[in-house]
Point group: C2
Chain length 275, copies 2
């Protein structure tokens, strides 16, 4: 590991895991803020000689890579078709077979709407050894930066994370929106910007209040973070009028209202630039 | 920051956030493995002079604290009553008012069944400035260490996280288990060990298969991690017979079956101790 980027000693002096030649580490990079990287992710960035990264991974994070590491963009964004998923997985296999130390770096968490499971299956089928490094999912950490807890005892004892489009970019037909509406006080929608109006209609039809609060967070945890507060009834129109661009994390439920108290960003005078 | 534990430079030379006297940072420590700490958490540990931590926080993580920091145990475990929550929040207020640099360190993520929202509300009510640092939630990262993705396109487009007991330690009466059963292919239950039998019965009554796979993971991400694989029909009896101790993360759904392919721990010969 380079001296410019040392890690703290692990307890009891245990060594940090070594990314061996021929291995692939499937790693979450978190929602964007480099400070939300895990120590394991940093350790991986310091060792990998081939980094296959999503478009969603913050370029500032890629700058933490080992000097000389090959950066390979393999990302997909928003509602585009995912025909290349198999190609990405096979690329990981090929790199590992070349004896490279391969880091597959994904936005958020690899196992939360991240297709890490599918890539792991392909690696296993080709006898490529791998490791999973979880990351902070935007649906939790991104909302926290907007001051929104996904659970709060006064509001909900269940939260559902759901994808807002399927592999064809349509609202997922297999999601039972009525059951989701009834089952969870808080609903977090990934990749839902395009279809938020239709989704909101289904939630209202299932009994959720038309005036229930909704937050749409873009560039979560980054300097350009924006938060649109709206309601289920107005969400479709407000998102369309906002000019906000995908990707976004959308939260539906009473905890959105806690933002008024819990939004902590900008509370530090130094961070506001006025102190 | 002590020289023994330097952080990598942030992009563009931005300074790491400073934990100022009189502030409280509400921070998730992740499921246990110190490598799953975020860089922000490490930065917080290096600066805090008072660390109020849950019992669930791995002691090995507390050893990363700044030398001389006061460690204050404030945790609750499992199904015990939570009468002391208000006391914990007021303790944070008092420490901040003493001008301490206060780190409130919680297992997992502060906003996922972590009561971070409640503590933030008390801090705000007392005009104590605070920051939220998300952590890896055990329901995602702990399951990943057991080889279980919480989403996979072949299995589910929604996942529900639900608490297995309420403030009195009983199965939460306000959870609509039938709707949860119908709405999400994968269900992740926090603090559910005590009532897993009763919960499984409700899920089966709502139409989930009696032979649907269930995994119970204890000491997730730690050297003592154990994974019990069972089914909805057998879960109650198998957990009782297993001798496993709370806390645990429980996963219900088809992705549990992916463990056979995706369980990566022990796949590294060096980690098995035979290579």
């Amino acid at each position: 590991m380079s001296e410019s980027r040392p890690l703290p000693p692990l307890p009891d002096g245990a060594p940090w895991p070594e990314l061996l030649p021929g291995w692939v580490w499937l790693c979450g990079a978190g929602p964007g803020d480099p400070g939300l990287l895990t120590l394991h992710a940093l350790n991986a960035l310091a060792q990998a000689d081939a980094i296959v990264h999503d478009a969603l991974v913050n370029p500032e994070i890629l700058r933490l890579a080992r000097p000389g590491a090959e950066l390979i963009a393999a990302g997909k964004r928003g509602g585009r078709p995912s025909a290349r998923q198999e190609d990405i997985s096979l690329r990981l296999v090929a790199l590992a077979r070349e004896g490279r130390r391969v880091l597959r770096l994904k936005g958020g968490d690899p196992f939360v709407f991240g297709r890490g499971g599918e890539e792991g299956e392909v690696l296993a089928a080709h006898a490529i050894p791998f490791r999973i490094i979880p990351g902070i999912s935007a649906g939790i950490g991104g909302l926290a930066y907007a001051g929104i807890p996904v659970t709060h005892r006064a509001h909900n004892q269940a939260v559902t994370f759901v994808t807002g489009h399927d592999a064809r970019g349509e609202p997922p037909g297999s999601v039972d929106w009525a059951a989701v509406a009834q089952g969870s006080g808080v609903i977090v929608i990934y990749m839902g910007m395009k279809h938020i109006g239709a989704i909101a209609e289904r939630l209202i039809a299932a009994g959720r209040g038309a005036d229930e609060p909704v937050a749409v967070v873009t560039e979560a945890t980054l300097p350009g973070q924006r938060v649109l507060e709206t309601t289920l009834a107005r969400a479709g129109a407000d998102v369309a009028a906002s000019g906000l661009q995908a990707p976004a994390i959308i939260c539906v439920g009473g905890t959105v209202g806690l933002r008024a108290v819990l939004a902590w960003q900008g509370a530090n005078p130094a961070e506001r630039g006025d102190g």
